[in-house]
Structure formats: C-alpha cells, structure tokens
C-alpha cells in the first residue's frame, strides 16, 4: 500500500500547528501587521517579539560576519525586547488570532522577577488569545544586566522558581527558552523541567563580539564609538545549537518537547533539528536576511524529502538520529576507513596533498609518474621542481604538442596517491576536496568485532593511567 501523502501538520506540546516552521521571537515578529504577512507567506506560527515593560533601544543594533563573499554567515544584535507598550502588543495578538485562528501565536514574555508581575503578564497574554507562552530566559545583552533574560537562565534556581510562578497561573503550554551561555545546557533545562515547564526552546543567542574596525579600533555594532557584547546567531551557530539540542534530548531529566532554534535557514536544517528530537523549529536570521518568502521552500523541500524517505508525518522521523549520538568511549575502535581518490573526477588541485602533509598524516603522495612509489618527496621539493620549469606561451602553429594537452584532462602527475597502509581515515582530504565524491572514505576492516574504549577498559586491557578520568558526566 502506498504511503499516505506526507503532511507538515504537527503538534508541539499540545499545540496543533499547520507546519513546524515558526518565526522566533525577534524583529520579524515585532508587530501584528508583520506576523499576518508572515502567515500569508506560509509560516505556521510566530513567537511574538518579547513583551515586557517597554525599553529604549540604541542605534545601531546589528552587526554580522561575512564569509568569502557571502553576507551574514553569522549575525549579532544588541536590540532589547519590544519597545512597544504591552497593551499595544496584546491588542495586536488578539487581532492576529481573530484573523488567523489556525496559526499559532506564542507570547514571549520577560518581566521583573516578581511572582505577581509574572502572574499578571501571563493572565493578560492568555486573555489576549496567545496559544502558548515562551519565557525569555535567554536574552544575553542589556536585559541580563537588569536581572532578566539570561541572568535568569544562568541560575537554575531562578529558572525553576519563575517557571513555577508562571505555571501557577498559566492555562496554555509554557515553553522555557534556554540560553546557551552556560557550561552545560542540561542544568537550566532540568531546572525548567522541575519548575513544571511543558516544553523547551533552544538555543537563544550566544554572547559575541563580531569584529573590530581596523581603522577606528571600534567594535561593531558601533554606538557612538562604543559597542557592547551582543547575541550571536545565524548559520554559524547551527552546530552549537544541534549539540545542545542533542544534550537536552538525551538527558531524561531535561527532555521535554523541544522547539529547535539556531542557524536554521532551510528545510535541511529543519530536518536535522527534528532528527535530533525537536518537534518544530524557529527561524529568525534567515528571515531577516531574505524575508518571509523563504518558508515556501522550507515547506516544499521538507515535504519532498519526507516523501522520498517514506515519512508521512514529522513525528515519524523525529529523534531518529538520537541513538546515533554516543559518547566517544562507546565508538567502535575497530572501524577502519581509508581515502580513495577517484581519478576520473580529480581536477588536480592537490589540496588533499598539502592538507595531508601539513594537517594530517603525510600519507598522500605525488608519485603517480615515478617508477616506484616515493614517500620521501616533500611539498617543498615539488614546488622547487616546478619553479625551475621553463614555460612559454604556446603558439598554435609552432607548439601543437604543448597545446595538444587539453586542460579538460587532469595530467596523471597531478593526481595524488593515497598510501593506504598509513592512512588513518581522518576524512581531512575528502573535506578539503572541492569536487563532490572525488575522494571517498572506504571501509577496509575485515570481520573485526565491535570494540569500544569502554569495553577495553572493562576487560582490563587499558593501563590504569590511561583509563581513569574525573567524572564530569554524572
């Protein structure tokens, strides 16, 4: 029987949603007008720009890191929570919910650490029609200096207590948004869970200084010659976010329904977060960069991938990669791979060669045209030989020979050779190779049983000096 057509409809901590793509609490969700346009574009939900007592912002507020010609590989902000009156935000929440009843609106909240103040804002947000509440325990700049945001998220006791206060009042699901600016994300996650949180979202932004102007010596973003540490996000932070998501989901005392945040810009990113256990994802930087329209491909791409893999629902693949993340000591020491260079694809750039010599284990050689393998020829010797060559501009009529060698074919002497006996299977050559599938890592171990460090220690095969560690992961 054919699988039913995949659907993106999903449920997150009891909140039903058209799709798992939400806009994170940030400038793209500043007001009702924006959020309604975002819903028109296809976003399933939006977490309102954090509501609290209005603040005053500075100018400028954002800075970024470009990477080899691509803009905003990493993004940083020193903007605070909403600068609009609470009642304006709440009025607009009500308006949005009236017009878009099937779309999810979450109220992100941040107020001073008093029980009554939290009770009051929870009541008002829910009365306005919010489908859920997100507690902003993560904002790392400005607000934290006032005892809010990450100042709460960094102290497990506060985190637990405020979550508890909110839960006393809340009728809708409570999501605690965690700060990554801690040494172990599981500590605040466990505190939130103890406080009764229904769900978590992670990660908020990472403390950062994005750069210094080399002419003025001023950091950016520049506020009258000075700057302040900001919150870092965008594609650059995704690996950090994925790791923290995995840590939370793999820890029974932390695990709750999780909304993944951090560098998500496309459907592939979303799929990865879901494979590590997230029920949905939140997006900010990519929408700030390219606008709400990016959600169209996020939806279409994820649906196509689900159809290709035979998944009907998000839930069917949620968390599938969690069992594949283990502690290092549980990895198979008897798994052995080596690099294979596929000559037909090799373009002769020799990046693998120089990377292996300088950054790995000196087991790639340029000796394809030598009579015998030569592992003694160093990169410096290769370069010295080339610089002695006398090259001339070919003249078609006179130098048929030299032009006859088409630049479409890689000369054999430029194709490196892997000394498989010494290759440790580190992957570096395949990572630096610019051509897809030109260097593949292939398994060479034969019939060796699985054996991990943990097992070796248990069998007494490891001397005590090498096996004892201070326990850090209790």
């Amino acid at each position: 029987m054919a699988k039913p057509k995949p659907t993106l409809e999903s449920t997150f901590c009891g909140i039903e949603c058209l799709n798992p793509f939400w806009l994170a609490s940030a400038p793209p969700t500043n007001c009702g007008e924006q959020i309604m346009r975002a819903f028109d574009a296809g976003w399933g939900g939006a977490v309102w720009k954090t509501i609290g007592e209005p603040i005053t912002n500075v100018s400028s507020r954002y800075s970024s890191i470009d990477w080899e010609g691509r803009r905003m590989m990493g993004f940083n902000n020193i903007e605070l929570i909403s600068d609009r009156p609470i009642e304006v935000n709440l009025r607009e929440i009500a308006e949005v919910k009236r017009r878009y009843p099937k779309h999810v609106v979450i109220a992100s909240l941040m107020v001073e650490s008093k029980r009554e103040t939290w009770h009051d804002i929870v009541q008002r947000a829910e009365d306005a029609g919010a489908d859920g509440l997100e507690l902003n325990f993560g904002c790392p700049h400005g607000m934290s200096e006032r005892g809010m945001g990450s100042a709460v998220g960094q102290v497990p006791e506060y985190c637990e207590q405020i979550t508890g206060w909110v839960k006393e009042k809340a009728r809708t699901p409570v999501i605690v948004k965690l700060t990554p600016n801690i040494s172990d994300i599981r500590i605040p996650a466990r505190a939130a869970k103890r406080g009764g949180a229904d769900a978590l979202s992670a990660i908020n932004t990472i403390n950062s200084i994005t750069g210094i102007d080399l002419d003025t010596f001023q950091p950016n973003p520049n506020v009258d010659g000075k700057s302040s540490h900001g919150g870092y996000c965008g594609p650059a932070v995704k690996p950090i976010a994925l790791n923290m998501v995995q840590q939370i989901q793999a820890d029974a005392a932390s695990a709750l329904p999780l909304s993944g945040i951090g560098g998500i810009g496309g459907w592939r990113d979303a799929a990865e977060f879901i494979l590590l256990g997230c029920s949905n994802v939140q997006v900010c930087t990519a929408a700030m960069h390219y606008g709400y329209r990016i959600v169209e491909d996020m939806q279409a791409g994820l649906l196509n991938w689900m159809a290709e893999k035979g998944f009907s629902t998000i839930e069917e693949f949620r968390g599938l990669s969690l069992p594949n993340v283990r502690e290092w000591k549980q990895l198979n020491l008897n798994y052995q791979i080596v690099a294979r260079i596929h000559e037909d694809l090799c373009i002769g750039c020799q990046l693998c060669y120089t990377a292996c010599w300088d950054g790995a284990h000196q087991c790639i050689h340029l000796d394809r045209t030598s009579v015998t393998p030569d592992t003694t020829r160093t990169p410096a010797m290769v370069e010295a030989e080339s610089s002695r060559q006398i090259s001339t501009t070919p003249i078609p009529k006179l130098d048929a020979g030299s032009l006859g060698r088409s630049s479409a074919v890689t000369p054999l002497e430029r194709i490196p050779r892997v000394d498989e006996g010494h290759c440790v299977g580190c992957n570096l050559c395949s990572l630096v190779c610019p051509v897809e599938n030109c260097i593949t890592m292939e398994r060479i171990d034969k019939d060796l049983p699985f054996e991990s460090w943990e097992e070796r220690v248990a069998k007494g095969l490891v001397p005590p000096g090498a096996s004892e560690v201070m326990s850090t992961n209790s």
């Binding site: 090259s391 003249i395 078609p396």
Partner: protein, 452 residues
C-alpha cells in the same frame, strides 16, 4: 642627472583614440574582485603558476586580494614579474594561467586571474606607493642592456635588486619597446606601460634613448661594462617583394599600431586590407575597424588551421566585423600614386603537398590602405663577426642562441632574451627571459669576479 619628466607625461594617446579603444576586459571593482578571489581553490603547486612563464604565485596573490592585503598582492606579482600590470592586460591568459586553471575540469569558469592581477596592480598604482623593492647593495659591476623592451627591463630590475648597475640603450624616445608601442590600446594603453616602467625606474636604471647601437658602439660598451644583455627584439616587418609595394598607403601592422597609440594617426580610410593572420595582424585589423574603416579584410595564403593567431583573437576579430580571405596570395599592389587595391591570386594544394597559385584566379580587392603583417625580420647584423669569420654570438636563422636557464649566449659576456632569441612571442615570455638572464648575469659576475 637633470630631473626627468615622468615617462607617462611625455606622450599621450589622442582622446578620440582613447574613446574608441576602451578596455576589452573592464577592471574589477573591490566588490567583484573579492568574491572572485574567494572562488580560487588555492591549488597546491598550482597549474596557473606553472603555466605562467614568469611563475607568478597566482593563488598567493589572489588570496591576498581576498584577505584585503592589496599591497602584499601587488608585491607578490611584481616579485615574479616586474611588468605585472602590463602582463595582466596584454597576456593571452586563455592559453596561459587561465587556460591551465583546474576549474576547466569540472565545468566551471576558470578564475579570472588576469582581471584580479590588474585589480591588485591598479590598486598599487592608485595608492601612490613606491615600488616595493630596494636596489641591492652596490657591487660596483655594471651591465649594458641593448634595447629597453620587456626583456631588458626585467633583466635590469633583477640586476638592480642585486646591486649591479644597469644602462639601457634604446633607439626610441621612450622605454618599453613593443610593450609601449605594439600592444592593442584596448588591451594595454600606452600610458599604462609607461606608468609601470616609471615605477620600475625607482630601482635606479640609467636610460639612454634615441641611441642606436652599431658594431663599434657595441665594442665600446663591451669594454666599459662587465656584461652585455641583448634585448633587441626583432626588426622590420617583412616586405612582400611585389610590385607597387612602395605606393603611398602601404604600411605595416607595427607602424599602424605604434602610430595610433602615439597619436600620429587617428583615423584610417574606408577600405583596409591586412596581409597575414598572426596575432599582430588581428590587432591591426581590429584597430582599423576602430579607427573608422568601413571594410577591413585579412588575407592569408593558408587556411584557418594554419593561422598563427590564437583562436580567441580570431573570434574577437570576427565579432568586430573583420572579414577573412583564406588561401589567397598578393601578387601586386594596384594604384597610381596611392593605393587603390591589392591584386590577389587563389592558391591550391598541388600533388606534392605544396601550395601553388591557381592559374587565372587573379582578382582585385579594392583598398585604400594595405597593412603588412607577415612576420618580422631579425636585425642581428650588427653583432659583427670576428676577424676570423666566426660570429660574436652564435645565431640560428637570425635568432641568438642562449642557454634557456641563464640567458647566456655562446660568448660568456653576452646574454640575451626576448623576441631576438625566441623569434617573437609574448611580453611575458620576454619578461621571463630577462628575469632569468638578470639572475644569470648576477650569478656569473659573482662567480667570475667573486675572488677579485
């Protein structure tokens, strides 16, 4: 020495010429250069560097553009090629660095090396910074360099960096040889060649212009200096040896190109015929189009496959409207007083493989200007023979024979490089020859005189 007027200010190209000969490859701005620089893979032992006759470390200078170290980028270029700005514009990179780029092998555009090189060099010139090299500690040695074209300039730069004095002699009023007078203006403007040589002269080079070296003067120089470098290039363009060749309206490609570049010619008549199908012929034909000719033809006695022009030059000429007539040979220039046309005969292959005129195939190609571009003669006659009849330096079909690695001729004190040794190639080949010879001379001087 009296204060010299900087070379670029001594001559100018007519504004109407400048306007019609705009950049064939427009310069990059920073926003375009940096992403292009980032596209470079930074190959190890890069094929582009190997292909470059001067072995400019291409990935190194490109990565410096990406990092924003433009001064370092220009220095990397100049260290290998003292005419790096000229070469970035004049080089046929399609068959050199860019032709060797590994990008060709996975269906990607090769890195635009020439435009990046020009970007770095333009930035250096715009910054007003001095040449990033100092002369070496004076050794007391001196070398006379005959000709002030690319080979001699490159040789002189190497000598100066090693503390050897360099005296350059040239028959023209300005330095650079064909780099200044012979490259199509849309590739390398005359003023850019001179700007680069002006910078090179900061190494302290003695120029002697409008001085032709004959056998006796050469003997003098040989006595006065520790070594001689011959960078004399080639001589006049060959003549056809047919009737009417001396009519008004018959010129040659090098005269045409030098003429419009130095403002002595700003337009050409309606109908122009260029004889020959080398790269210089193409430059002349395209120049004729841009100088106002309505009809420009190239006539060649062989076919497309045998022409010595690069394929991309041929395509360029076609795109500018130049017509090509293959397998025809001029047999006479028609005209009374001034040229009216060129009489051509068709050629066919004979049974023994040679090509012969086809009887009765003569026809007239009307023309107001006939431009000859059928190769240059050598002019090595002044390298007088010794009394016993042997040559001062060994020649082969008029070319000076050298040891390619050092530029040394059969006479140990004489070195040579550039067109006079290779029969006529590119600026970059001459620079590479000059560079090797400069290093070779300095090493020879050290070995020869070292103990003294």
């Amino acid at each position: 020495m009296a204060e010299r007027i900087p070379f670029p200010q001594q001559v100018s190209t007519a504004p109407e010429v400048v306007e019609r000969f705009g950049d064939l490859h427009p310069p990059f701005d920073r926003q375009a250069a940096v992403p292009e620089a980032n596209r470079c893979l930074y190959c190890f032992d890069a094929p582009c560097t190997i292909a470059c006759p001067t072995h400019i470390d291409v990935p190194r200078f490109i990565k410096k553009i990406a990092s924003g170290n433009l001064a370092g980028s220009a220095r990397t270029i100049l260290d290998a090629n003292i005419l790096g700005a000229s070469c970035s514009r004049a080089c046929p990179v399609e068959v050199l660095c860019e032709g060797a780029c590994v990008m060709h092998r996975y269906n990607k555009q090769p890195i635009q090396i020439a435009r990046l090189q020009r970007f770095a060099m333009d930035a250096l010139h715009a910054s007003g910074a001095p040449l990033p090299f100092e002369p070496g500690v004076e050794t007391g040695r001196s070398v006379a360099l005959i000709g002030a074209g690319p080979a001699s300039l490159a040789c002189a730069a190497e000598l100066r960096r090693r503390g050897v004095r360099a005296y350059l002699y040239d028959a023209r009023p300005l330095p650079g040889g064909l780099n200044t007078y012979g490259i199509a203006e849309y590739k390398l403007p005359l003023v850019e060649s001179l700007r680069e040589i002006e910078m090179l002269s900061q190494l302290g080079v003695d120029f002697h212009f409008e001085e032709t070296i004959d056998a006796s003067r050469l003997a003098e120089l040989e006595r006065e200096h520790d070594a001689i470098f011959l960078g004399i290039g080639l001589g006049a363009i060959h003549q056809l040896g047919i009737a009417g060749e001396h009519l008004v309206g018959v010129t040659n490609a090098l005269e045409l190109i030098a003429g419009y570049k130095s403002s002595s010619m700003t337009k050409v008549p309606e109908r122009v015929v260029v004889v020959g199908a080398g790269n210089t012929a193409i430059d002349a034909a395209i120049a004729a189009v841009r100088l106002g000719a309505a009809e420009v033809s190239i006539v060649y006695r062989r076919g497309l496959e045998q022409m010595s022009a690069f394929g991309f030059e041929y395509e360029h000429a076609k795109s500018e409207g130049v017509k090509f007539l293959w397998h025809v040979q001029p047999v006479g220039v028609r005209g009374s007083g001034a040229v009216e046309g060129l009489t051509l005969t068709k050629l066919v292959a004979s049974e023994d493989g040679s090509i012969v005129p086809l009887d009765g195939s003569e026809f007239l190609l009307e023309a107001d200007l006939v431009v000859l571009s059928i190769g240059q003669a050598t002019h090595t006659e002044f390298l007088a023979k010794y009394a016993d009849g042997t040559a001062k330096v060994q020649l082969e079909r008029g070319r000076i024979l050298i040891d390619r690695a050092t530029g040394q001729t059969s006479h140990p004190k004489f070195f040579a490089g550039g067109d006079c040794t290779n029969g006529g190639r590119e600026v970059v080949d001459a620079v590479a020859d000059g560079k090797r010879a400069g290093i070779g001379i300095a090493a020879w001087l050290e070995g020869h005189h070292g103990q003294a």
